[in-house]
Symmetry: C2
Subunit: 237 residues, 2 copies
């Protein structure tokens, strides 16, 4: 049995729809109608889900796993725009006229996605205007986040940018334990660098400083423990 089928058996598509914020106003029956429009797919860690320039005529919702959304800069480095996880969606752009993707999407770990054809989705939006309101809300949140990112990138305050990323990951992936907040980092040092427009080495150095100050602790390369979250929060404003 393929991973794909296994996954479908387990959730009968419903997980996709029900765990997604944008469908949260729908009742059981309406949800059922949405679910009937969904097809699913599995990607292994490292696989490209979307390539910049390809046509993208589906709305894609992440059911499990996580992905990075990135573009390539002039110099060939990747600029990571978002790290999306369970419940996040993308491909909502150009709902009206289909256009090619302006970004790449790569699975950061094994990931299951749900897809709805844009044409189907449009019909859905006209039938349930509340979904639109939810999407607008989410788009507004993203705008907020990007605006803050730009604000941070605008200042020369490199420490604040690094600390802000660590806080973001702490909020998304952090688990409290006796030693502090244990955070599974979704990105390597280089990934973090590409996310906030710095270099690998600078991330290393800034994180080492945070360790010297006792604010964080490193557990291997992929986990950190935040010992003093207030210190991080203060530094970013």
């Amino acid at each position: 049995m393929s991973k794909n089928e296994m996954c479908c058996m387990r959730c009968n598509h419903e997980l996709c729809a029900s765990r997604v914020q944008i469908f949260s106003e729908l009742n059981k029956e309406e949800l059922g109608r949405v679910v009937s429009l969904i097809t699913r797919k599995h990607y292994s860690k490292g696989e490209l889900i979307i390539i910049e320039g390809s046509t993208l005529d589906n709305l894609i919702i992440i059911n499990s796993g996580q992905v990075k959304i990135f573009r390539n800069t002039q110099e060939g480095k990747e600029q990571i725009l978002y790290v999306f996880t369970e419940g996040d969606f993308f491909g909502e752009k150009n709902l009206i006229k289909n256009q090619v993707a302006t970004f790449n999407v790569e699975a950061l770990e094994d990931t299951n996605i749900c897809m709805i054809k844009k044409s189907d989705f449009q019909t859905l939006l006209r039938k349930f205007p509340d979904i639109s309101l939810k999407i607008m809300e989410e788009l507004s949140n993203r705008l907020d986040k990007l605006e803050s990112t730009i604000q941070k990138m605008g200042t020369r305050n490199v420490e604040a940018r690094v600390n802000a990323v660590l806080l973001e990951f702490a909020n998304k992936y952090g688990k409290h334990d006796a030693r502090g907040i244990l955070v599974d980092l979704p990105l390597s040092r280089e990934g973090i660098a590409n996310y906030i427009g710095l270099t690998r080495e600078t991330i290393s150095r800034k994180m080492s400083l945070l360790m010297d100050e006792g604010i964080i602790e490193m557990v291997g390369y992929k986990k950190i423990i935040i010992k003093n979250i207030q210190a991080l929060e203060q530094s970013i404003e």
Copy 2:
């Protein structure tokens, strides 16, 4: 007679609604209904329209004039996020739950705005789902723009950022004439600096270089003529 009244006489509110992209799918009668929900206001150059932290329970559409949307950074500098002009709107955030503004808005010149209460606007959206699609489209466009901005800020390529701003202003405000594209700059050097996260002096120096290269020409401090737009376009990709 106040400016406000004069303005209302002139356009009977209709201009606001009709010249705005998001209402473009509505017919005359529907437009009339929208117009009945609108109130208007005039601001002089330099006046603050919205202050960060104040409650913002209106959708605001710019009828004439232009404004800058900005936040204050830690160091007290302003980070300009958008320069909005006729037909642009803001305040669409938190349509559901009213929240305080996360930004300031200041009139860059004499400006007339149209306001619709968020609650009224929500009703409108439920009645005309196509408006939602239009708004999503616009929000997507803004996301696109911010994503590109981040991509540019991510690179250390300062020239590209400066050139991109000049191109943006050329597209928005440029008028072709015999000498090239005449652009009325909406922002001072310092304003431009605050828009793209550099300093006043760096903007001066980069613009002087562009002049030495014959790519632009300065007409006083507030206008430029772009002599070689291809050169600018090439530099940003």
